[in-house]
Amino acid sequence: MKDLSMHILDIIQNSVRANASYVELQIIENKGEDSYSITIKDNGDGMDEDMLAKVSDPFFTTRTTRKVGLGLPLLKQNAERTGGHMKISSVLGEGTKTEAVFSHSNIDRPSLGDISGTIMILVGANPDMKLVYRHKTDSGIYEFNTDEVKDILDGVPINDAEILEYLKQMIKENLKNIKIE
């Protein structure tokens, strides 16, 4: 995957397929501790211990259209390549949390990429899902919350093209403001 925003899109897709109605994406950049952590939490179907153990295996997938599932293994490989790790925890019937930690300064850490575009796609394709995106850097915190946006929109659909484009720009500007990497 070219950059981290693609991994994020991929993992949140897993949450969508697990029937999540609330997904929380949190990115924390801590240069002092040289860490870049991405956490994706959902309230979907969750997994039992058996499945949880198999999920990082590229040859395991819940899909019937093919025999490999590369999303999580690729993310794990990328994190570990920088000296980081990936941890998944899940409770059947409650949800799943995926946490990937990278070394901030390591040259093998992919750049974040077009995260505002990713958020725009996720909101556009899943307008009924609550999505909270929180990004913290040494310069500040920015939070994007679909509930807040829907309050302002007062009935106008959040997945209208113009609105989506506006949200994408808004997220981009605010992230620049807190100097993300």
């Binding site: 991929d10 899909r63 946006v149 302002i152 929109l153 209208d160 609105i163 808004m170 500007e173």
Partner: protein, 132 residues
């Protein structure tokens, strides 16, 4: 702070979108919307499906075509990603493969607006691994 300014601007955009929608509702039928599903699993994302989805949302809106663009998981055509499934009202869904921006534009101009089939159709009765 930028956020405060942005939320106010959002209100203005909301009003303009609302009036655009009211206009549309009076002249269009929900049964007339085109449904487009963009395959967005790991293979799709790696092949650039995100850009195609953004392109479709923007272009369909610009051209005033009532459509719903959503994402699905893997449809099984990993070798032909990015793939999209287009369902015109009253017609069978068609899956197109190898959709780059140029082909996406073709699909909108030729297939959705007109009725001309475009290169890159993946036959629906393609056998997947399980069905062998």
């Amino acid at each position: 702070m930028e956020k405060i300014k942005s939320l106010d601007d959002l209100k203005r955009i909301k009003d303009s979108v609302k009036s655009k929608m009211d206009l549309r509702e009076k002249s269009n039928n929900p049964e007339e919307t085109v449904q487009i599903k963009v395959a967005m699993a790991t293979c799709g994302i790696a092949a650039g499906a995100k850009e195609i989805m953004t392109f479709m949302i923007k272009t369909l809106d610009k051209d005033g075509i009532p459509a719903i663009v959503t994402q699905t998981g893997c449809m099984g055509y990993c070798y032909a990603e990015p793939t999209i499934e287009v369902s015109k009202p009253g017609e069978e869904p068609i899956v197109f493969g190898g959709v780059d921006a140029a082909r996406a534009k073709d699909i909108i101009d030729k297939y959705i607006k007109g009725n001309e089939l475009v290169d890159g159709i993946i036959p629906v009765n393609y056998n997947t691994i399980e069905e062998k």
